[in-house]
Structures are given as C-alpha cells and as structure tokens.
Symmetry: C2
Subunit: 427 residues, 2 copies
Amino acid sequence: MSILIQNGTALLPSGSSPNTSVAIEGSRITQIGTDIDPSGFDTVIDARGQLIMPGLVNAHTHLAMVLFRGYADDMALQPWLEEMIWPAEAKLTPEQIYWASLWGAVECIRGGVTAFCDMYIHMDQVGKAVEKSGLRALLTYGMIAFEPNEKMEKEFAISMELIENWHGKADGRIQTAIAPHAQYTCCDPVWERSIDIAKERGLLLNTHLSETRKEVDVCIKDSGKSPVVYLNDLGVFEVPTLTAHCVHVNEEDISILAEKNVRVSHNPGSNLKLGSGIAPLPEMLEAGVTVGLGTDGTASNNNLNMFEELHMAAMIHKGTHEDPLAVPAKQAFDVGTAGGYQAIGVDEGGVLQEGALADVILVDLEAAHLEPVYQPLSALVYSAQAADVRTTIVNGQVLMKDRKLLTLDEQEIRTKINEIAQDYRRS
Amino acid sequence: MSILIQNGTALLPSGSSPNTSVAIEGSRITQIGTDIDPSGFDTVIDARGQLIMPGLVNAHTHLAMVLFRGYADDMALQPWLEEMIWPAEAKLTPEQIYWASLWGAVECIRGGVTAFCDMYIHMDQVGKAVEKSGLRALLTYGMIAFEPNEKMEKEFAISMELIENWHGKADGRIQTAIAPHAQYTCCDPVWERSIDIAKERGLLLNTHLSETRKEVDVCIKDSGKSPVVYLNDLGVFEVPTLTAHCVHVNEEDISILAEKNVRVSHNPGSNLKLGSGIAPLPEMLEAGVTVGLGTDGTASNNNLNMFEELHMAAMIHKGTHEDPLAVPAKQAFDVGTAGGYQAIGVDEGGVLQEGALADVILVDLEAAHLEPVYQPLSALVYSAQAADVRTTIVNGQVLMKDRKLLTLDEQEIRTKINEIAQDYRRS
C-alpha cells in the first residue's frame, strides 16, 4: 500500500514548506519533496490548501470514559469521584468499554490524534477497539494495591494478561506497559515488582504523579519525600517511565525528572477543570524533560480535543508567567507531536522525515478563522480547531479521508453509545 | 418575516428544555413552547439534534485586525507593537478595513457570534461591513490624546462623525459609543468631554482598563491612584461604561466597578497570549460586576472564536484558584451571552424568552466530541467547538443556515483578503 500526499504545506523539522509532497510506502514515510511523480502510487491525495503534519499524540487518557463526558461537572473532587464517577465505573461492562473505546477512537481520528496512551480497566476490550480503528496506542492497566495481598496478585495477573495478549500486536501499533496507578494507591512491593517486570520485558512503566497538592502534602507528611523523590528512591526511574500530570513538582523534582529522562504527559485541560492547578511546563522544558500532551479522561476535560490542549499549552503559561515568550508555537507543536511519541516510547514517530512512521494528518488552512495565513505553524497552534482536520493516516493506513471515516462505522457506534448512556442517566 | 425553529434542545433561563420550538416575528422572539403550529411561518427550521441558544457576544475586539492574525507571534509586547503591529496598521487603507471587517464578520457568523463591540479606526468602513453582514454591533473609535491640543480636537471630530453617521442605524443593529482609548493614552480633558458627550447623547463610554501590570504601576506612581480609582475620581463611571480587560484590579477596584455598575469585557485568550495575566473573574462576578467575554483583536488571540473564550473562562479560573467549583458552566454561559449583551448596552438580548431580541444560534449536539449528552449546557461550555454552529440568526434575520452564509459572499471576501494580505507579507 503506497500513498502520495501532494501540494500541501508541510510542517518539516526545518520549518513549513509550501507545495510539498509526502510519499508513504507501507508504514513509513519514504520521500518528501516538491516534485514526486504520482504514477505508481496506490492512492494520491491532493493536499492543496491544507497543512501536512505529524499526527497529535494524546499521551494520557482513559478512552472509554467518553461514556461519562459531561456526566458530572462543577463538583468538588471527592464527591465527584465518590458519588458520581466511581459508582458509574463500577457498573461498566466489558462490552460497554468496547463500544465506548470505539467512540473515543472516532473522536481521536476526527481530531487528528494518531496515537494515545490509555490507562483503564478491561483493557482487552480497548485493545480490540484500537486494533479495529487503526490507531496506534500504548495500553496500560492501572494497578491499585495498598497492601501486598491477594488484591495485589490479582492486579499483576490482569497486567500480565494484557502484556501477554497485546504487546506488539496489530502490526506493532499496540504496545503495552506496566502501570502502578499512583504513589498514593500502590504499596512499595507493587513498585518493586513493576520495576522487575519492566526490566525483564523491556517495557515502559506508566503512572500518575504529583497531580494534586493534597497528594504531594500527604506523601511529604508520611515519608518526608515528594512523590517524585519517593519513586526515584525506590528505583522506579531506572526504567523508562511515563508519568501523567506533574502539576505540583518543585525544582528538585524537575531536575530528577530531567536527569532520569522521565517522560511527562502535561494535561492542562484536566488539571484546570479539576482545580488541580497548572503544571510548570516552561520550567520542565527548560530543564530538558521530555513532555507530551494529554487530555486525561473526558469526564474531566470534557473531550479528546488535542487542538485545545495544544492551544492551552501555548497560551496558559504565557499568562501565569506574564511572559509572551513562554512556550512559543514551535515548542507547543513539538510537545504535541514528537514529544508525545517519545513519551509513549515510539521514537520513530512525530516528525515528517524520510524513514519516520507514517502517522500523518492533513489540516484545512482555508477557513475564516485561519486566513490570511502568514505562518502556518502559528495558524495551527493559535487558531485551528479539531474540526479543521480533514484526513488522518496511521501506520500508512488512511483512517479518515476528507472527513469520511474508513475503518469505523460512526453511525453504528453512535447509536450503541447513546443506548448505553441510557443506563447511566439520572432520572 | 417570521421564523419557527422546531424540535431543538433550548437553553432557557430555567434550564435546558428538549423538543422545544422558538417562534420569531420580525426582530423579536414571540413564543417558546413544545407545540407551536408551523403553518403561517415564512421559514421553518428543524433543530432536531441541535441546541437552540442565544448568540454569543464578543464584547471587545478590533474586527479588522483579522488581517493581522498570526502576522507576528511569540514576541515581547513592545517590539510586537512598535516593530510589527503599529507599522502594519499605519499602512491600512479604508478599503482594506472594509474587506477585513467583512472577513471578520464571516468568522463571527460561522462561530455563532451575533453581536460585538468594536474599537478601531476608519469606523465608517466597519459600519458598512456590519450593515451588510446583518450582525449587531457597538462601534467605537479609540481616541488617543496625551495633551489637549489639535490632535485631541481631531479625535473628537472623528468620534462625533461616527456617532452622527451610525448611531441607531441598520434597523437599530448598530449603536455607537464615545471611546477614550485608555487612562494612559488620554489626558483628563478627553475624559471630561467624553463624559459630557455620553450624558448629552445617552451613549455608553468604552475604554481599555488595567490590562497590564506596568500600566497600573505607572498610574499609581504618577497619581497615587489605580487606573480604576483615577477614572472613578474623574467621574467617568457616572456614565454607563464598558471597559476591556481589568486584569490587574484589586479589591477596592472591583468594589468600585460593582458599585458604579461598570461593565467589564473579560478577554482571557488575549490576556494570556500577550502575557498580561489572568483577570479575577470569580471575584468580579462574586462582587456583582456585569461581565461579558471578548477575544480582543486577532493579532493577539489569534481568532474570533468565542467558544474558546467561553471554554477558557470556565477552565482557567478553576486551575488558578485550585477550585473545581469556580466559574461553573452556567456562569460561563451567562457571561458569554446575557452578560455580553448587557456589557454592550443591549439589555433585551442574550436570553431565550418571549419579547427578547431574536439573536439566536443553533449548535450541533450530534458529534463524536459531544455525545453522549447528559447535560446540554455542559456539552456547550466544556466540549463544543465553534465549528459546531449550524445556524446564526440576528435581529430575526437568518445570516447562516446549515453552515451556508446568506448575507455575505465568503469566496469573494476570501479572495480579496488574501490579495490584501500580500501587501503585508515579509519576503
């Protein structure tokens, strides 16, 4: 299967390049230039008036929570979790998670998201949905075990089943990781065994880290250490680790994250909406931390719109730092693309260059909210909407062409998801 | 001309109401109910699967600056203004401002903006564009006069010409105001005469206020007063006043704004992007200040997307206050609609009720980033995009139906705006 994308404005590592064509053979970008002969390609896509760029990566989400988008808003964290979200999740069936994951996949593809990291339950169903959708994903099961007991053994059994069944599947589009849920929900033995598993199998370790002030204060009170220091002292960061949030991290924490090459998923929307705070993105980038962007679950966002996260990542820190030079468009773009791929352990994605994975999206540049376009990168980061995405390609397969989905039946999934939602509506 | 909007989910003051119809006769909403006979209406619009709501108000913008969207980004404020924006604006011709205003109107209509407050130059051209587009607007010319000299006389002459020519025009869709640009750009005589003009003619006064920390510090250093106190002591707030920004206001300032019923346009996007800071929206609302939302000019935003401002207004303050209960969806919605109409002095707009002005938009609720919809208001504020707007009605006239513009030739305006932009491109 070969594809030629013609005559678009390409966002190359060297900058934006007009009238550019991108050739794809199999799962890779094989050629980029201004004059590539279209004959012999299976598919030729005209990208006139469109931006050609790497797909966006959602480095931290709980995809099936699309079922709970807007289910409960404007509540304090504890009642929101205890009275609304946890009881609803307790009712979730594997079949519901399958359909909800497909619905989340539809939103990803429509919004130009080519890869994501998911941490949820019944991950087997998420795996099936990812396989069908054509997306790329790092799948993880969030283990919770306060004590080294039977529950802990059960959590590891579930994780190992996910890893055995899904690691490297779907032409390599699916990877897995070992995932202790968080420092405050897992006892030391969970971390110790997770480190061993990650080392033995060459896996990433995925976890939540320093999301709320309370979590950090409790850890310091109990151990005298911040969660970052606590996990570092346990040796967690000796294995490649992807952490979500890092909102409440100090200078010492940041230097540890940088030194140990811990990857961070910055999730501005969720952190704002839950009142967690604002992560020090400029400081983390300055220190050399590898950062990607994520939406978190849609119950706290309320969508999988990575254009919003890109926009917020570029805007918020300018305001909080009272510095218009904080997080310029190029930096936000790198975090949303290459940074995300590095964060989920896919180092060959996230850039338009020969040999890179063919995860590519086409974005309309002809719209009243975008023209005139003086700087394509600026138009993308500061003006574009998710709805401007026209075409989404993952691993050399076209998942959406001119806004028509090719791998999923949107109407069937919509009908199903609205049926399922009836079970959760409060009368 | 009569319109019946049928079978939509209406956002009424009492809450969201399914299967609801809204009847419009002339420029007013005449009936709202679940069972209105469609016979006899000139136009019947099926709003199945759509939200029926008041249009959004952009309470502070410089519409024609769409010509400079993305023209210069990621720069410090002074070089941005002095090296890029001001030299570009100095080249602007009246004809360019006419076409740029039409292009801005296209973005407004597509994004569900039914009314806006504009402060710019060559306002006669903006008036012509507003008249043609069908939008509602408060038009103001920003006067700058550091001394009571000939320049000041010229500024007032330009303002009076705008007021004489355009106040109450276009079936009353166009109102005007007297507009000293800001405390730091106008000498006392400008304020004194502006107060007299506003009183004599029953006009609003429109100005920028406490946008940057520097502006406030300089005012305190020179006068011992904050800009709010300074203008209040001059008697400015004795006339109905609409101010933009109010980012750096303290408790005393806020109590003055509330007590004198000064209306504030909160412009989160522009304040973030320029590094000005984050206005204390929750505190202003708590104090009872009338607040609307605005984008400011697109050179500092970079769009006229009020869905983004609505989203940011609801999200940012939760994060900065570490309080998930700050600015709930309903409050953000009220600020973006009714608050905006009050801000621009149009008290009969911004709510779906009988007798109100027929400024109404229809927003798709059927989309992968919106469904399932448990709470329509939540879907609008936390999940929707400007591209979800299907139909825009202003003063009882349909300006866009099912995303087709009815008053403006988008392609003609696009061609023109891209031609004009060539004059501003740097080689």
